[in-house]
Subunit: 134 residues, 2 copies
Amino acid sequence: MVKKSNKDSMISTVELGRAIKRRREETNMSLRDLADKTGVSASTLSRIENGTGKPDADNIARLTNWLDVPIDRVMKGKSKKDTVEPVVYYPHEATPEIVEAHLRADKNLSPETAKSLSELFRVAYSQFSDSEKK
Amino acid sequence: MVKKSNKDSMISTVELGRAIKRRREETNMSLRDLADKTGVSASTLSRIENGTGKPDADNIARLTNWLDVPIDRVMKGKSKKDTVEPVVYYPHEATPEIVEAHLRADKNLSPETAKSLSELFRVAYSQFSDSEKK
DNA sequence: GTACTATGTTTCACAGATGGGACACGGCTT
DNA sequence: AAGCCGTGTCCCATCTGTGAAACATAGTAC
């Protein structure tokens, strides 16, 4: 018989919340920005990021979709081997194009600064992806 | 902005229900048997198999775990990057001197920040040009 | 026939997740 | 100073999934 104490929840919500928050701050989005983008309300996002309660299936789907991570990373349904999966990690999907979009959207940065930072990231990015490629 | 009419749910519950029912009948298990095995109550199982309502995250995890199928099979998250706003990228001459000038001229940046960023760019730039000259 | 059991369904009260709105705080601008 | 705007959090009414128990039905044994 499978016990079902509230403790052994099958989903690791805290990790999800941390991942969301990190990605959100990395891309300089507000909770309401993310809410518009994902369809999850700001209040719910706040709760999730702080690990309060468990999001329902739809919101998990929406958020993992936005994060572009497999849901299995969040729902520990160890189907095959007991890979003690770490947690939600998320590869930087920050392409130079995305970064530049964010920089240019930042009202606190002058166009010149935004441009310079874009350039900077592009240089670093090319370095990174080069070293990645074998 | 992502609309959120209750219709376009991110999870396809009906398929999950069908799969559960099929597998359960294949193995000649009653709802209560499955309930004992998975931790999901018989009543909830009945609802899921009949496609009534949407199971919460925990139950989805338990059932997909029992089915031994990846959850992504149930949660249809098109992980495509159709949300990336198109951006025109215009490269420009980004020497450390020019970048630094821009940063220092930006009155929205503290001198320390400008300096740090200049430094950062110089490091990345030197590495980049090093790898350029093979 | 009457019991009894097994199975799926439905009822019901409850716990909790959700989203809109209000709130407090901080940063800017005037 | 005051006002305004953005941000995160919290409150609260509403909605929804859940599980135990009651229910309906069918089959089986007596």
